[in-house]
Subunit: 411 residues, 2 copies
């Protein structure tokens, strides 16, 4: 007997036919003797409609009222799934964020979960063998009693938080892909599903553009030691248990590859500041105004100084590209630099693997392979378990395929 959280996204509960499919997955686990809490998103399309109404109501809508409106989507899907489960003979009860409760901070629209009460659910598992159907994405602020929401993709985080609260053995995230892949299979047909991936690796994969899970849910899982299994809701309900990708502590992964996956992000733009004075305070003078304008700066690279002047290259989200250039033009005279160059048609390709910690030469191998294909590297940044290179967007597919092959990920 295990205790499980099962999370289903909007496309998995898009209509009653899909909700019945979800119920069959749940029934399989119940029939196997497990204790189950289900976390559901709103029916696909619902949240968009509710968000659109809020925008129509007012461009500058009150975040508290926005949350009250938008959270209603999960209320509906949770209730409907409870009804369908009961129809199948499975004892079930829906739980809103305020009922459990799932307590959050006051950051309406992107609230953080502070505390989840799992005691009532565990009691009902024991006493009634009752499935808890928890509305994802939503919570309630402890002091004001107002409904909060966790931001887009927040149901993943709800699921992990509930899993931690009820001490679940595993948190199964059902999605429209069957797991986490070594890279995007649409680009590299030889990409394969990973059986296991370490939390740290998944964090890099998620934040670098492999849009399987909300980044925050992985952080929370790592912190709370919740084992996540990503699998497909389109699998037949009687599919074997081993399907999917387990996101877990790296100690649980016996056979570590040096490189686990190749991620890429087209959501970057490059800015280069030419011939800026190489003296204390210059970086602050450049990046301070960008931070004040709420622009996230990534991949900062500074070349070695020549004649007291240097070049600084960095990336910003492509959506903030024009705004970033304007901010920097304003401080040009104060900071003192000769030119501001930039490019929006760039891509950041990243090589990820906890094995890098103990293996040398991983970066050199990438640089050599890319050079052999004539791909110019615009910037490089590295961390303990990741190497990122910025290249022209035109070379995206070639670079990803090359690196996937070079590190032995082709199946």
């Amino acid at each position: 007997m295990a205790r499980l959280v099962m999370k289903f996204g909007g496309t998995s509960v898009a209509d009653l036919e899909h909700i019945r499919n979800v119920a069959r997955h749940v029934k399989r686990e119940i029939d196997a003797g497990h204790e189950v809490a289900v976390v559901v998103s709103a029916m696909a399309g619902t949240t968009n409609q509710l968000v659109e109404w809020c925008r129509e109501a007012s461009v500058l809508h009150d975040a508290r009222e926005y949350d009250a409106v938008v959270a209603s989507g999960e209320q509906v899907s949770a209730g409907l799934l409870a009804i369908v489960l009961q129809e199948m003979g499975v004892t079930a009860r829906s739980w809103q964020g305020w009922q459990l409760p799932i307590l959050t901070d006051n950051a309406h629209g992107s609230a953080h979960i502070v505390e989840v009460n799992g005691a009532d659910l565990i009691k009902r598992f024991k006493e009634r063998r009752e499935v808890a159907v928890v509305a994802g994405f939503q919570g309630v602020h402890k002091e004001t009693g107002r409904i909060t929401t966790l931001g887009r993709g927040g149901s993943d985080t709800s699921a992990v938080a509930v899993a931690a609260a009820i001490h679940a053995d595993r948190c199964d995230i059902y999605t429209d892909v069957d797991g986490v892949y070594t890279t995007d299979p649409r680009i590299v047909p030889k990409a394969h599903r990973l059986e296991k991936i370490a939390y740290e690796e998944m964090l890099e994969m998620a934040s670098l553009g492999a849009k399987v899970l909300q980044v925050r849910s992985v952080e929370l899982a790592m912190h709370k030691k919740v084992r996540i299994n990503v699998r497909s809701s389109f699998d037949p309900p009687d599919a074997p248990h081993s399907v999917g990708t387990l996101i877990c502590d790296e100690e649980e992964i016996v056979e570590n590859q040096v490189v686990t996956g190749i991620a890429f992000s087209k959501d970057e733009a490059q800015i280069s500041i030419r011939r800026v004075a190489d003296k204390p305070g210059v970086a602050a003078a450049l990046f301070g105004p960008l931070a004040e304008a709420n622009i996230n700066v990534d991949m900062i690279v500074q070349n070695i100084s020549a004649d007291g002047r240097t070049d600084i290259t960095f990336t910003v989200p492509v959506a903030d590209y024009e705004r970033a250039k304007q901010v920097l033009e304003k401080v040009k005279s104060k900071v003192g630099f000769s030119a501001l160059e930039g490019a929006a048609d760039v891509v950041k390709v990243s090589i990820i693997g906890v094995g890098m910690r103990t293996h040398a030469g991983v970066a050199a191998k990438a640089f050599k392979a890319l050079a052999e294909r004539g791909i110019n590297i615009r910037a490089i940044s590295t961390s303990e378990i990741k190497i990122s290179v910025l290249i022209d967007a035109a070379f995206t597919e070639l670079a990803v395929r090359t690196l996937h092959s070079v590190y032995g990920l082709d199946q």
Copy 2:
């Protein structure tokens, strides 16, 4: 300065354009210095969709989960109205049933309100001049903490309950008609809007088919002495205050008419039991099985006995007509009667007025007028303030117009 509840139904909040119109009505009252709580239904069509989903999920759906699903409609409209009011510069906050709270009993799907906390709203009127936007139709059960709903049209009752809780001077119910009429204007063009109507009269009008207000809301208003004003949400927001019909204590109505209005209901079917033994226990033997089958019996008429046998005529809802006949056929041999006759093409026409209490001859006038038009009366029932006659449906319009004229209601 007055304290008001303003209630808007589903067609009044059907989309954002309509919600903005509602907000303008609210702003008018705020600008006039009043304290306002608004009660809203779900956007037109929403509740039907949610009910349909529950049915699709399971024919025998759990009423608790049904309530959780269906109550989400009011959550959305309340939040959107709060946003629109804020956009217009009016301080506003939405309140769900569980937030206020509106405590109800455990009768999911048609719960009764037990208690409404008005203290927080009054505090916010005083401290912030804040409009409370209360989600109608829904409440929460005190012990289980589950969401409840009040049944179709329940938002009227929500409005009256909130009005009682905050000691409102008046509860304005905005609907798609501009008040309560002496009879249906589609049948009698000379029908006119009543300026005032007593609670008891309105109860008869409402339960007899003048579908302006949920019956329970009028009962609650009578019990709690809440003055209700029924008016149109399609009036321009700057329309004078005197529009609509005030439902109030009869003592507040100075100039009482003998007859206030003529109501009619086509939702009746007649059943006649011929030559049944006129002895104790016969009525129980007939009406007991009908009650057990959950069939409401109305207008019971028993003729004077001849040779120890009598005829009993009564009406049942037309939807239960066939079922009622089946129930009675089953007990025929046990009860002992010669024939069971019936008619579904009948209508119940009622003459209503508290003035009847002190005026004689009201019924006689009706019978004479109907006889002169050749309209046969199938059954008669009366109360202190009402005379009902059952006639052939074909004569509906003629009967209603005749009675409307006879009692001086034509304008």
